[in-house]
């Protein structure tokens, strides 16, 4: 079906404020009397706090408050599992944990005062490595994690936050069927999301005791609940005001400093702003979990996978508080099966406590780690079997009616078509010069679920306002929602406006995340618009002028004291039986003298639903892909005994505009998604297969296999040196 507005490449009409500097992000919010909060952080990974002396800091002119744990209620916070204190109370568990907080009118004065807080620590033994942490006798990060609210009941070791398992068939029986068994272990790095806006928030307590919040948080309604819990206040006392978010990528869903800002506001009677320095982001944000992943796969002579066992150890750091899902693990662990039919499968994913920076969700949580391991493993097996890596994949790809490790059965499976499209567009079979290699990798990404409220209102000037509680994280979702409403009501895009609902307006909303917004927000807006359309039709009938304009209809209703308005609450509880496949080809050149890897060309193919806004859709692909390249090649939070050593964006290197390769995108549109107009999701489709595509290309170019990310020049150089030595001996 042809659409009028849906599918049009409409630019970012919603961005005048952003390009002109008028957009007010959380850090830009100013209020009369506003003061700044700054946090003192632990220099030790594990220590008992013997004493905190704040007297000297309190005496600094301009300092209005200094708080340590003893000044705060003894509550623990989190997103699902509540294991983190507001400020370290009796002990610190990672370098960067907050131990005190200062408020002053001048942020520099507050920061200077931090240096005058004296904390006496008594060192305790610490553990930084996930494997070491689950050995018997390892230092315990928490004495009894099972007692925390929201904690999974059972754990094999007190340093395990959670275990997530996926099971299909009988894995032991499957291995007995196998002719060959392959086992490889892969490692991925600790990596920050790289959003350019550090966490920021403002908390003000109104005269009547209402707590007003402005925060870089993508789930305002959940934030209200979490704040209510953390501050021990009824939900009605809290209002979260929506602000644009300066990059999320999974990282902006926690409380972060907001409870501290509240307590500083409470004791000073002033609105308080807390903005993390980027150094604090890098030492104490909530980055992507590093992993050690072992895959063991049984294959028949015919090249069919009959069994796989996956064990993933995620180093989750000192707290589970940043993980938002009930299993307190990483759903991406399910990608241990990749895009393949594996009849007998067991995946076991452990999130492990260590005395390190607590990790959280990052774009496609767990998937870039798991897909790097899985797709590298596929190429290694194919090589060993003497099979072409494409042929090996094709013998095992998911097909119609297959089941995912989650138990979902799949329809409209287009894995093979997506792979073929990527191969063709990449010139897979064309000759390549010496030192150049090509690698392929695949993944798939489910379409997110959640719940959203939408309200549409016909204005007397004939335009329509969409009221929504979803903040703008930058994806262009608000524009997509406007397109949907405009399409349904036969309006132009300019005739639909967005009004952002504070958390007073709706009962609930699952917010932004998990590639769900086009689906849930889109369906809520779609159904609300359909209802409004029906009301308008009825009103027009009452007026007796079937062709009456929206303005005339709205004005007629207004004369009766009525507003034409419709609301819809959309709740997608279960995943649809469709997914979105991705196939990517990296073409790289390897400098044999230095090991430097240059991506010469990149091809990305996606099995997508109806594309509502092609510019925004492509923007998601490109942004995710370049994040994937950073993860593959340059981004790593270095650590030394729990201390993050890359404490600026000068050391933690995000790709620049000069680092991106020529890109070819192929879209295979198949309008079968659960979203409005049969849309699917795209936000997390392009990131996860990039690193294995690059790793496979490096292996193709120079014969060395890099098992741990990022693929630095140094790793390739020394691997080349080893392989030269082996060949000459």
């Amino acid at each position: 079906m042809a659409h009028r507005i849906v599918g049009q490449p409409i630019g970012r009409l919603d961005g005048v404020e952003k390009v002109s500097g008028a957009a007010r992000y959380s850090a830009d919010v100013t209020l009369p009397g506003l003061i700044w909060g700054k946090a003192l952080r632990s220099p030790l990974p594990h220590a008992r706090i013997v004493r905190i002396d704040t007297a000297e800091a309190r005496a600094v002119p301009g300092v209005m408050a200094v708080l340590s744990a003893r000044d705060l209620p003894d509550v623990l916070v989190g997103r699902r599992m509540f294991d983190m204190p507001l400020l370290a109370r009796d002990r610190v568990r990672f370098i960067g944990e907050k131990v005190a907080v200062v408020a002053a009118a001048d942020p520099d004065v507050a920061e200077e005062a931090l240096a005058l807080i004296y904390v006496e620590y008594e060192d305790l033994p610490a553990v930084f490595d996930a494997a070491a942490a689950i050995e018997p006798g390892a230092p315990l990060v928490h004495d009894n994690p099972g007692a925390y609210e929201g904690a999974p009941a059972e754990r094999p070791h007190a340093n395990v936050q959670s275990v997530l398992c996926f099971k299909l068939g009988d894995v032991e029986a499957g291995f007995r069927e196998a002719d060959r068994i392959f086992e490889h272990t892969f490692r991925t790095q600790l990596a920050h999301h790289g959003y350019i806006e550090p966490h920021a928030g403002v908390v003000a307590i109104d005269g009547d005791g209402r707590v007003q919040v402005w925060a870089s948080n993508k789930m305002p309604y959940r934030l209200k609940e979490l704040l209510s819990h953390a501050l021990q206040l009824p939900k009605e006392r809290i209002r979260v005001n929506l602000t644009p978010i300066g990059g999320d990528f999974g990282g902006k869903g926690s409380l972060m400093d907001l409870p501290l800002a509240y307590h500083l506001a409470r004791v000073t009677g002033r609105p308080v702003k807390m903005v993390m320095r980027y150094t604090e982001e890098l030492m104490a944000g909530n980055p992507r979990h590093p992993s050690v992943i072992t895959l063991r796969t049984g294959v028949t002579k015919a090249g069919r996978i009959v069994a796989r066992r996956v064990r993933a150890l995620f180093n989750a750091g000192a707290y589970a508080a940043f993980k938002p899902v009930p299993h307190v693990n990483l759903g991406g662990a399910g990608m241990g099966a990749g895009v393949y039919r594996i009849p007998n499968l067991l995946i076991e994913s452990l999130c492990v406590y260590t005395h390190s920076i607590p990790c959280g969700h990052a774009r496609s949580p767990g998937e870039p780690q798991m897909v790097f391991a899985g797709e590298s493993h596929m190429d290694m097996i194919a090589k060993d079997l003497g099979l072409d890596p494409i042929e090996f994949r094709k013998r095992n790809l998911l097909t119609e009616g297959d089941h995912l490790p989650t138990g979902h059965h799949l329809e409209h499976v287009r894995a093979k078509e997506t792979l073929d499209a990527a191969l063709e567009a990449s010139g897979w079979t064309t000759p390549k010069p010496a030192g150049v290699g090509r690698g392929v990798a695949m993944t798939h990404r489910h379409i997110g679920v959640g719940f959203t409220n939408a309200r549409v209102r016909l204005e007397t000037k004939g335009t329509v306002t969409l009221v929504i509680g979803l903040p703008d994280t930058g994806t262009g979702a608000h524009l997509v929602l406007r397109q949907i409403v405009a399409e349904v009501l036969g309006l132009s895009i300019d005739e639909v406006q967005i009004e952002l609902a504070t958390t007073d307006i709706f009962e609930t909303d699952s917010g932004v995340g998990g590639s769900r917004v086009t689906h849930t927000g889109g369906r809520a807006a779609y159904h609300a618009a359909e209802q409004l359309k029906e009301q308008i039709r009825v009103e027009a009938g009452k007026l007796g002028t079937p062709g009456a304009s929206f303005a005339v209809i709205a004005q007629a209703a207004a004369r009766d004291g009525r507003t034409l308005e419709a609301s819809h609450f959309y709740d997608a509880k279960a995943h649809a039986a469709v997914t979105s496949f991705t196939a990517q080809v990296a073409e790289v050149a390897v400098d044999s003298q230095t090991g430097q890897v240059t991506v010469r060309r990149f091809t990305t193919a996606h099995d997508v639903g109806t594309v509502i806004n092609p510019i925004g859709h492509q923007g998601q692909i490109e942004g995710g892909l370049v994040q994937g390249l950073g993860f593959a090649l340059s981004e790593e939070l270095g650590t030394e005994d729990g201390r993050v050593s890359t404490l600026s964006l000068g050391d933690f290197k995000l790709p620049t505009i000069a680092d991106i390769p020529p890109l070819t995108t192929v879209l295979l549109e198949d309008p079968v998604g659960p979203g409005p107009f049969r849309a699917k999701a795209i936000g997390e489709g392009s990131i996860s297969a990039v690193a294995p595509a690059v790793a496979n290309a490096v292996a193709d170019a120079c014969g060395v296999r890099i098992l741990d990310l990022p693929i630095t020049a140094e790793k390739v150089y020394f691997a080349l040196a080893v392989s030269k030595k082996e060949r000459s001996s």
Partner: protein, 157 residues
């Protein structure tokens, strides 16, 4: 220790008394209420705080406010003329040159400075000039498209 300074921002002269340690960025944001320029990395790497000082783009997060005493500063708020967006700003909207927008004030100020110095830059020149403006959302492809489109505008001021 404070110091009285006079700086001209987007054509308007301001007299402000600032602590000597105040960065130019904090002065613009806190003292003058111009919050368009952002603090990202805080060490001159990311470019979210890019402003022009006497026409030359600099990192305002590692410049002191006192450096601007007697000088002219151009921020993102000064690019539009009479409510009309600068062609660079318009192009970033039309071509999807931003997503979350936090780096965008720096990107458009840098792109404007580029086109002022070089009205029809090659892709290589765009990359070399813009490599100090990090963007985590777009993957940069649409930033390059935006700058190309702005450069192609015949009536660019």
């Amino acid at each position: 220790m404070t110091r009285a300074i006079r700086l001209t921002v987007n054509g308007t002269a301001h007299d402000v008394e600032v602590p000597t340690y105040r960065t130019l960025l904090d002065c613009l944001r806190c003292d003058l209420g111009l919050t368009g320029s952002k603090e990202g990395c805080g060490v001159g790497v990311c470019g979210a705080c890019t402003v022009l000082l006497d026409g030359k783009m600099i990192s305002s997060c590692i410049a002191l406010a006192v450096f601007a005493d007697g000088h002219e500063v151009t921020t993102v708020e000064g690019l539009a003329e009479d409510e009309r967006l600068h062609p660079v700003q318009q192009a970033f909207m039309d071509a999807g040159g931003f997503q979350c927008g936090i780096c965008t004030p720096g990107q458009v100020v840098a792109a404007k400075a580029l086109l002022d110095a070089n009205p029809s830059p090659s892709d290589t020149e765009i990359r070399e000039w813009m490599l100090g403006n990090l963007c985590r959302c777009t993957g940069y492809y649409k930033i390059i498209e935006s700058i190309r489109a702005a450069a192609a505008q015949p009536s660019r001021p």
